[in-house]
């Protein structure tokens, strides 16, 4: 029927998606649609279904009901092997980085290039070059031969960002990239994410409990000439810098809209995120 009806420019679409683990509801009839090049910031307290939303988006979790489209293809009923091709076009940063302990930093970043079918098989030289580029981007090129356990929490996230973006996917998902980090490191991480977005024009879905993360994503832009983050005046109207906020409460999507609308919201739960 209309299985492939999702508009081509939508990178991610949820239609009435519900998911429960035993008795706890993780997602409760969630529907939204994310356009290409768009940034989405999902706010929510712990246990509000943020991570489940992200994992459902790439088929790591199967919804109990509802349908999910990823990069224009429905993934709700796809088998695991069938999903690999699609997932290779999505970058994911897991909460603690999700780096493989048994591999070095360099091998971790090379992993997607070696194991995902991204175009033609890359030559070893090309893989090496791209790994170095990706690590230079997060300013960790000197850690190439270290193992993840030698790195700090912030550095692990940065390696995770390098690994998520090394294949240059059109959509990158970030699971609480700043959780458990000090404010300074946290801002560095979010600025890296924004920089990655602006240099490659990717769509982002970031789940977080920190409103400041969304604030940076919505109002700052990387200026490649000066190499710095600059505040954008009238962010919402300016050249395609679209950031949409979503708020999850107990698996339900209780808010979806711009930063202005978010700050004007009277909902006490939504307002709690904005205030601090």
């Amino acid at each position: 029927m209309s299985a492939a009806a999702a508009p081509p420019q939508s990178v991610l679409r949820f239609e009435d998606v519900s998911l429960a683990f035993d008795d706890t509801v993780a997602l409760d009839h969630v529907s939204f649609e994310q356009a290409a090049g768009e940034t989405r910031v999902v706010l929510g307290a712990a246990g509000s279904g943020k991570t489940s939303l992200l994992k459902t988006a790439i088929g790591l979790l199967k919804p109990d009901s509802g349908r999910v489209w990823l990069l224009g293809e429905e993934i709700t009923c796809r088998g695991e092997h069938d999903l690999f091709r699609l997932r290779s076009r999505v970058g994911v940063l897991f909460q603690e980085g999700g780096l493989f302990d048994s591999l070095t930093v360099g091998e971790n970043v090379a992993y997607p290039l070696e194991n995902q079918q991204v175009g033609q098989a890359a030559t070893p030289d090309e893989i090496e070059r791209r790994v170095e580029d990706a690590l230079r981007f997060v300013e960790l090129e000197h850690t190439l031969d270290k193992t993840p356990d030698e790195l700090s929490g912030g550095m692990r996230r940065r390696v995770g960002i390098a690994r998520a973006s090394v294949t240059e996917p059109p959509l990158v998902l970030y699971d609480s990239p700043t959780a458990g980090l000090d404010p300074i490191t946290a801002n560095t991480i979010v600025e890296l994410i924004a920089k990655e977005r602006d240099l490659r024009d990717t769509a982002n879905l970031m789940v977080t409990y920190r409103y400041q993360d969304g604030e940076i994503m919505a109002n700052f832009r990387y200026n490649p000439d000066s190499g710095q983050m600059v505040r954008v005046a009238h962010a919402l109207e300016s050249n395609g810098l679209r950031t949409i906020f979503m708020v999850l409460e107990g698996g339900r999507l209780v808010f979806e809209g711009s930063q202005k609308e978010l700050e004007a919201s009277n909902d006490p739960y939504v307002a709690r995120f904005v205030r601090h």
Partner: protein, 252 residues
């Protein structure tokens, strides 16, 4: 009544699904041979010393215990055949398997469990690798190859332990011990002695992987998964041993 049965049945079903997929992956590309050899090294070479030690002492102890009753009947020269049958048919496979379960099922469960709770399994899936293919199948193949070999070594070292007692306390000559022992062994005994560890290997590796992949609830969950893996693997080893023993005793 049925509600009580539901969780264990569902769990067993999940276990069978995992086992089925792990077995199917043996015949499906990609094969991660590096991981297979690495696991063989960890499970087989790593377990060699402890398995040899256990084998040695079990052979030693059986001979010591048997010698009293045997000398009461004046049948001390029968010690070789008795020790070799007990070792090859029962104690070699079972003790080795229990030892490897303690070493490897726990190691596998805790390694996979930590990977699960630190989202490395999810990361693997997100990066286009089937964790069953990459983690479970290599461990299963490695254990299935190494456990029979470890059992053979345990049997041999156990015979050696028995020989020390036979030689020094029972005053048997080497040929009085080794020749009847060797002649007693039948095809049936050897098949039983090698088939058992081969089957136990699947139990150990798959139970370890199953509990590892099922881990929930952070570091505490890893500890729980590890304990469960060892306990469940050991229980299955003894149950299957009795079952297989029954089949082979009738065949013999």
């Amino acid at each position: 009544m049925l509600d009580i049965l539901k969780p264990p049945v569902a769990e067993f079903q999940d276990f069978l699904v995992l086992s089925g997929r792990a077995l199917k992956n043996v015949f499906r590309a990609p094969h991660y041979w590096d991981d297979v050899f690495q696991q063989m090294d960890i499970i087989g070479v790593g377990g060699l010393a402890i398995v040899a030690l256990i084998g040695f002492f079990s052979g030693l102890v059986i001979t010591m215990q048997m010698s009293r009753s045997l000398s009461a009947y004046g049948a001390v020269d029968q010690v070789g055949p008795i020790v070799i049958l007990i070792l090859v048919r029962e104690l070699g496979p079972v003790l080795t398997a229990v030892m490897v379960a303690g070493r490897s099922a726990s190691g596998i469960a805790s390694e996979l469990g930590s990977m699960k709770v630190s989202e490395q399994i999810d990361a693997m899936r997100a990066l286009g690798t089937d964790p069953i293919q990459k983690l479970v199948t290599p461990r299963m193949i490695a254990t299935a190859v190494m456990l029979p070999l470890l059992t053979i070594i345990a049997d041999l070292v156990g015979m050696l332990g028995g020989f020390l007692i036979a030689y020094f306390t029972l005053r048997l000559t080497p040929s009085q011990y080794w020749t009847p022992a060797y002649q007693t062994l039948e095809y049936n005994d050897l098949v039983q002695g090698l088939l058992k560890p081969f089957i136990f290997a699947f139990v150990i590796s798959l139970v370890g992987c199953y509990y590892g992949m099922q881990t929930k609830g952070g570091t505490q969950g890893v500890g729980r998964a590890t304990t469960q893996a060892v306990v469940v693997a050991c229980v299955w080893i003894f149950v299957l041993d009795a079952l297989l023993g029954r089949i082979f005793v009738h065949m013999g």
